[in-house]
Symmetry: D2
Subunit: 342 residues, 4 copies
Amino acid sequence: MTVRAAVAGASGYAGGELLRLLLAHPEAEIGALTGHSSAGQRLGALQPHLAPLAGREVLPTTADALAGHDVVFLALPHGQSAAVAEQLGEEMLVVDCGADFRLADAADWEAFYGSPHAGTWPYGLPELPGARAALAGTRRIAVPGCYPTAALLALFPAYAAGLAQPEAVVVAASGTSGAGRAARADLLGSEVMGSMRPYGVGGGHRHTPEMKQHLAAAAGHPVTVSFTPTLAPMPRGILATCSAAARPGVGAADVRAAYEKAYGDEPFVRLLPEGRWPATGAVYGSNCGQVQVALDPEAGRIVAISAVDNLTKGTAGGAVQSMNVALGLPESLGLSTIGVAP
Amino acid sequence: MTVRAAVAGASGYAGGELLRLLLAHPEAEIGALTGHSSAGQRLGALQPHLAPLAGREVLPTTADALAGHDVVFLALPHGQSAAVAEQLGEEMLVVDCGADFRLADAADWEAFYGSPHAGTWPYGLPELPGARAALAGTRRIAVPGCYPTAALLALFPAYAAGLAQPEAVVVAASGTSGAGRAARADLLGSEVMGSMRPYGVGGGHRHTPEMKQHLAAAAGHPVTVSFTPTLAPMPRGILATCSAAARPGVGAADVRAAYEKAYGDEPFVRLLPEGRWPATGAVYGSNCGQVQVALDPEAGRIVAISAVDNLTKGTAGGAVQSMNVALGLPESLGLSTIGVAP
Amino acid sequence: MTVRAAVAGASGYAGGELLRLLLAHPEAEIGALTGHSSAGQRLGALQPHLAPLAGREVLPTTADALAGHDVVFLALPHGQSAAVAEQLGEEMLVVDCGADFRLADAADWEAFYGSPHAGTWPYGLPELPGARAALAGTRRIAVPGCYPTAALLALFPAYAAGLAQPEAVVVAASGTSGAGRAARADLLGSEVMGSMRPYGVGGGHRHTPEMKQHLAAAAGHPVTVSFTPTLAPMPRGILATCSAAARPGVGAADVRAAYEKAYGDEPFVRLLPEGRWPATGAVYGSNCGQVQVALDPEAGRIVAISAVDNLTKGTAGGAVQSMNVALGLPESLGLSTIGVAP
Amino acid sequence: MTVRAAVAGASGYAGGELLRLLLAHPEAEIGALTGHSSAGQRLGALQPHLAPLAGREVLPTTADALAGHDVVFLALPHGQSAAVAEQLGEEMLVVDCGADFRLADAADWEAFYGSPHAGTWPYGLPELPGARAALAGTRRIAVPGCYPTAALLALFPAYAAGLAQPEAVVVAASGTSGAGRAARADLLGSEVMGSMRPYGVGGGHRHTPEMKQHLAAAAGHPVTVSFTPTLAPMPRGILATCSAAARPGVGAADVRAAYEKAYGDEPFVRLLPEGRWPATGAVYGSNCGQVQVALDPEAGRIVAISAVDNLTKGTAGGAVQSMNVALGLPESLGLSTIGVAP
């Protein structure tokens, strides 16, 4: 089965990562590459690491250019996917790496994004309870945000097992590629190297409602999330340090058991042996997430930490993994758990 | 008034930073520089950034070498200060950058450091309530750990004002110099660049009891701290993201007022204007800490974030600032609030 | 003697570094800060590391705003200084950190910058032969480019002593701040971290004629320069690796002697002891340049390497040092040879 | 055809990269992993990015452990390969990533390494003239040093075509993994981040004779090399900036033609389109080298620049590529030209 795939937004970081992974996917054939300001250029000038595609031309993002593919990946700025998606045939698989179809609550969408809510698509985090069933056979996938991917992998087992109080605290450090490729002075190398800084503090980050939605689904009751994203001086990676007060009577063995149950059979989440902790450097370029959890007896909190590559498992790898599920391909096809280190 | 200062541990990172600051201090005269494995070498080979001291020889760390100074700074591995300090005359000011005399609770010391407790000295964080009075005229100072400096600056105003519930969560990212200069494979540039990772998770970090001790003093009741330190790919800096549930009825104005009261007159802590957030890059090489705070209304938490240079305000700058207080010099003498950026 | 200084271009990297140094200068008083797109903003939002100036407002860059100062520093894009400078009174000291008045040859200027040549001002590299005499009492100073500062410090002693053949090779690695603060996608942190790349290869870089001009002056005959600049993943610093074939009969002792003669009494250039080599990390934030030289007997080449901080000795520090000379102040006043490390 | 491969030195950086590539090689089966101080540990604790091998145990490096494989890769400290290799059967393919068998001249070996010369094996840089013929069917391969790989790819076409004078200048910047994984204080992240520095200046680097040997072979006459290695603040990558005076009458078209001829059909060297320059970030984790060349008409020099990943094309990828040639497998099998970026 050959899957002909188009990528809209091929000149950005998510688009480049999709292409890197699709080049290694044995059933994928790369079709149209489209862009906005990059249209007309050769990909070699835009993504010089993708040597096999150097001569390919970027086309303008239009419904015509995207037609005739089995899968269309949308790697567009938030809020632009809906307009493109509605022009694409229902028989095509559309995988949206943007936020447009992630949230179930229209009021949340409007509060955080300021535009009308476009709808809700099956959520591309197969590790969540029930997610594979919702993805199987679907023709529309909403790829999770990179921070929610990291935070949910760290926390959902604790909530699914009923071990944690409903107030979670998430502090996550992201590499700069998470902010995209647009030229911004505050993302210049001179500004980010040697510095760490938070942003969107105090409940304002758009990824907060996405975390709450899926933790609540896992828990069966509402969960609040105090989320603080920080920018770290590295190109890739998210380290999410998450915690929540343990429910009375919960012990370390309960916590360990819940995570072993959640991840024992997962191909792309590795619960580390006790005493070892995740590092983003160990999942650089890999679709594998690392997770570790501990119970701090004195503070009474479950501390769960995950490391993912924000562009791979956090975006493009999760997208390809979900595509595999939707199309009935082996879920791991074309995806690697091996990082590039050091 | 000329202050003749010796530095024990002159070849390490804390020792080098002490010398950098003392070179700029108008009343300090740099006396003996001592070390262990570096004894006999010229400082120029060990600390090539300290050009004016390039020809100075490092002496072995002995009571004789340290005798005859007005101030002795100890920048030694944890647990080694007590033995040196007891050989130093009571009339000398001894400023210990190690942990030996920080903790008030002997059981805490023994649990975390595994040796007999040596005692408790006045704590070198002048911004804490009552700290200046304890430092004035003292001849013994325990310089805070770099993480506690950052966490306490972020959190103590909330506790001193009675705004926060007694369970605090601290997630802090530190530059690699915080781990010292000993050759360790896990601190090689190849390992740390491009990677973030936690360590000492789940209550085990030695800086936890130090935070609890001083938050409790500010609050007037016990406070638990869930502390997770992480290692960030940068040489210097700590970003501490701290939070605690707000007490019922606490509003954003209460929080802002508490921090303005705490820091309105402080020379070395800058409460940022609302809407701006700390960055470690803005305090690189500076003795200034940046603090910001917000109330997350949905999660019900006070989120307070601080940025300090772990070697300056977090160690050597705090040491010199405390020395100034102890000796009756102007507190800001020889210390700068200006960072080196970008 | 109080010197009232204005800085045009206060929101850029060179402007910020000028302010950092002027804040530490005992005779300087900081007057107007001007900018273009930043006009109307508070400096605290633009240069958060300059805490003492946080409340100062940036004014539009006009002759009126700059009038009434003793010194005006111009930190403007190349080609914009001339128009501003001609509006400033002849009694004011104007220190141009741009390229406008560096080149003696109008044809070179026009070939590399594409606009009419504005003139030639005394060159602000006091270490060059005859430079101090030209700077003393001047009211106009052209601050060298950062690459020429590094390359000339490495090479001019060999040419002044007649030791080197007239074909020099310069390969220099610069931190990203050398490219300025304008938002450019190729300078994003995501692009520069983890990567080194050359630019302007093959004779095209604007700093080449500046190097040739001053090496020729030192040598007394024309010198060609093959110059390749590269961008390194660090915020600051230039490491210039320079070489030239040795003239027949030149020995290692001749080379050493020439450099010792050139730098024996220089306050801001440190010829390292034999066997030790420069590092940009050792001059971070310092006005000191480190130089080392060796004769490779097998290749027959003199290899001279320098490290400078491109923003300090390479721009703003050189500007303040030259200002001191021009105004008859002690040359080292307010400038430090101490770097911030690690 | 399944190739059973052992890796001696599995806990180092070269060993880890060999395993990363062998895991992706469709005909390779990973056999024994051996080490010295790491023997007895699980690989998951040593190379956490190699998830599929996490449970494998590291054995002591002995002839017994390495026996019974089709290929043995030696990733040992320089000078230790010979003793191991002589215990391995002649029917096994031994691929030495160390220096022991690279040099043809015993005097060079003894001068630079201080031990008896062990011999000379076919050189694992298939792109060199005649290299593939020497590698085909061999049972012993000497993998080039990472710097020589970069410098030779940049320069040999100019020498093979008779375009360059016999004095070459090579200035190369390497990521820190080139220095290996041994705990050294000068390689700590705190020391290398934010700093560039040279080492082994003035003819003393061990890779110089290796460059000379192969440039001379390409040129048909002796070539001197002035080589300066520098350490750059990044984990991986080498950027080699190389130049040599052009022979009289050589024009830009001659130069371009020579490089197009050399690299037109090479799977793992990409001569970039004119006007674009190599970047190490574009070959991160890839076995592809990027090369560009220009003639500087004013300086009269051919400037050739290459970028390789020191661990991939510069070591482990070159080793696997050479193994493929030696065993008669398709040369590109299991190797990728795609980098991980940003």
